[in-house]
């Protein structure tokens, strides 16, 4: 960069700079539009399958079992049970239910499980990691806060998360809220370690020392100087966390421990379809592809954010 102040590029806020970098990342952009589509379909799915029932995921039509995608209802089906538009876009399942309507409803359920579970795990992870990173040296009786929190985290981490969740789900009454809670409660460990490491390294940065030297109160140092610098990478890992929560839910449903009927999730649509993989492959492939695309999209966006959000990498 030139020393001459006149020669500087026009000012750019971090947000503009972020956009400029993110826009050039085609994979991340692709992921972003997939996620936008998912978000719209999740909201529309909630509205059009529950509030104004345009697509009814629950109608059972024994006359229309196992119809492949793009089929029209059979002539002897009840006119009131016909799907919107007179066509089964994604076919029907073993009870003659409209797979498109079920996927539509499931998109909201899957996405909200992802967001709520990640919200819970971020909350716990940031709190514990932050405490450990900032007040870690404080002694409680004979053990430091840091040791206490990190050994607990290690203990939680040494169990395979999926089996912990499976055990908890098997013991608790099955419902969509239990699933959200449990996935969240058992997946904060990575975030906690991450936030702790960020806090430990940021605490030693000279700008934090400078703030201390200027007599800036501790609360303000934490929230104005440390948290914004620690959070960008946490946000990135949260994006990827949503994908893994959706995947966990699908896995649970697949094993029969997931969200119980009548709520449709992509996982339990997939799970119902697995019995008919040769007779009705769309029951398996449609939710499978949807899960694959969404998980891929979240990961691509996460990677793109990691690149674009990191002023430390760009600063030199």
């Amino acid at each position: 960069m030139s020393l001459d102040p006149e020669a500087m590029a026009p000012p750019e806020t971090p947000w503009q700079e972020f956009l400029r970098i993110f826009r050039k990342d085609y994979q991340a952009l692709f992921g972003f539009w997939v996620l936008m589509l998912l978000l719209v379909s999740a909201l529309a799915g909630k509205a059009l399958t529950e509030w104004w029932v345009v697509f009814d995921p629950e109608v059972v039509r024994l006359t229309d079992k196992f119809l492949p995608p793009f089929s029209v209802p059979s002539p002897d089906s009840l006119p009131t049970d016909r799907p919107f538009g007179g066509i089964y876009l994604m076919g029907t399942d073993e009870l003659g239910r409209d797979v498109f309507a079920r996927m539509f409803q499931g998109s909201f359920v899957s996405l909200s499980i992802g967001f709520v579970a990640v919200g819970i795990s971020l909350g716990i992870g940031i709190l514990l990691g932050g405490l450990s990173g900032f007040y870690g040296h404080v002694k409680l009786w004979c053990i430091t806060v840091d040791t206490l929190i990190m050994r607990f985290t290690d203990a939680m981490m040494c169990f395979p998360t999926f089996f912990l969740i499976l055990t908890a789900v098997a013991l608790l009454p099955p419902s969509i809220y239990t699933i959200m809670m449990i996935i969240g409660l058992f997946s904060w460990m990575g975030t906690a370690r991450f936030v702790r490491a960020e806090f430990l390294s940021i605490r030693e940065q000279d700008y934090v020392t400078a703030a201390k030297a200027l007599g800036i109160p501790e609360g303000r140092i934490i929230f104005r100087h440390m948290v914004p610098n620690a959070l960008a990478p946490v946000f990135v890992s949260a994006t990827i966390g949503v994908a893994s929560a959706i995947l966990t839910e699908s896995g649970l449903s697949f094993l029969g421990f997931g969200v119980p009927p009548p709520d449709a999730t992509w996982g339990n649509i997939l799970s119902d379809g697995k019995g008919f993989i040769f007779d009705a492959p769309w029951l398996f492939f449609i939710p499978g592809m949807a899960i694959f695309m969404v998980v891929l999209a979240f990961n691509l966006v996460g990677e793109g954010l990691r690149e674009a959000l990191n002023p430390k990498l760009r600063s030199r």
Binding site: M8, P14, A211, A213, L214, I216, P217, H225, S315
Partner: protein, 328 residues
């Protein structure tokens, strides 16, 4: 009390030991004696250079004085006030009078704050100015350090190292301090920019009647700015003298070695290079007796067992002090 005769800063017997922990119960297994019994004073408007190899404890001295670290022992009096006895509230007030400038112009500015808010934050927090007055004050500071006020809404990564260092200086000046610790303030910069920043620091010193503790490993840099120089070796002082005396008649073998390793600006001067042999010993297990003895070319038997006493060279008012058995 009379502030013209007493020193601005009086540090007595300063010690800072870092615990070394090991094992699963984090038991303290030893102490890094980073600073071990240092006494120095800085007068009003004076610059004291603190020189020594990397790792000898210079930063630790600077940060302990500002209470950015808690010293293990010692006394720090600033304008006659005992800094170590201050309660948190009083300490926050005292911080307005003493500031610090850092070595690394990259990590010393918060990358997510504009340079304008970096400089105005202390003024707001200490309720020194607000509204238009705050804006005027920040503009003024920018001009003083050679930055363009219209760049206030930009972020640190848009600037070069030298310009960032100017932002750091503006931030340190914001509270109108009397004393600034410059910790290797120019060491990370290109030589041409070093000179600009050194000039700026000198101009600011005259304008605001500042005192500096100027920490560096580079004797050339302090020669230009310091009134007096303290040479440090492994957590202790080796020699303290006025800049002229130190360069003309260095007494301590370590100072002599440092000076002979220093490229001499005057080409006619006869330079006899004295090479320091061996590595700097670890402050975890400092040598007995004189800490410099394993590397000293003039080492004697007494040096290995007895710590050297403080010797005054010449009349005491000249303040040339050396810690070495050669002069007993």
């Amino acid at each position: 009390m009379n502030s013209t005769t007493s020193p601005l800063l009086q540090v007595t017997g300063l010690k800072k030991y870092f615990p070394v922990r090991s094992g699963i119960f984090s038991r303290v297994s030893g102490w890094v004696k980073a600073v071990d019994d240092i006494t120095l004073q800085i007068k009003h408007g004076e610059t004291l250079g603190l020189v020594g190899e990397s790792g000898c404890g210079k930063t630790t001295v600077g940060r302990s004085i500002l209470r950015l670290m808690e010293p293990t022992a010692g006394e720090i009096k600033f304008e006659g006030e005992d800094l170590l006895a201050l309660k948190p509230r009083e300490l926050r007030q005292a911080r307005r009078r003493m500031q610090i400038i850092f070595q690394d112009p990259y990590s010393s500015l918060n990358p997510r704050m504009t340079i304008g808010s970096i400089v105005s934050e202390p003024l707001k927090i200490h309720k020194i100015a607000k509204g238009q007055e705050l804006q005027d004050r920040v503009n003024q500071l920018f001009v003083k350090v050679g930055l363009r006020p219209e760049h206030q809404s930009r972020y640190p990564h848009e600037f070069s190292g030298g310009q960032r260092q100017r932002v750091g200086i503006a931030r340190a000046l914001a509270l109108n301090p009397k004393f600034i610790v410059c910790d290797e303030a120019v060491s990370a910069l290109d030589v041409s920019i070093q000179a600009q920043i050194l000039n700026l620091l000198r101009d600011l010193q005259q304008e605001f009647h500042l005192s500096y503790l100027f920490i560096t490993h580079d004797l050339n840099v302090v020669q230009y700015l310091a009134d007096r120089i303290a040479v440090m070796y492994l957590g202790q002082l080796a020699e303290v003298a006025s800049t002229e005396d130190l360069f003309a008649t260095p007494k301590h073998p370590y100072t002599q070695a440092l000076l002979s390793a220093n490229p001499v600006p005057d080409p006619t001067a006869v330079s006899q290079r004295m090479i320091l042999s061996g590595d700097v010993p670890s402050p975890l297990h400092p040598p007995t007796g004189c800490r410099f003895h394993p590397r000293c070319p003039q080492v004697m038997d007494v040096c290995k067992t007895a710590a050297p006493p403080l010797i005054q060279i010449g009349p005491p008012e000249e303040g040339h002090q050396v810690w070495c058995h050669l002069y007993t």
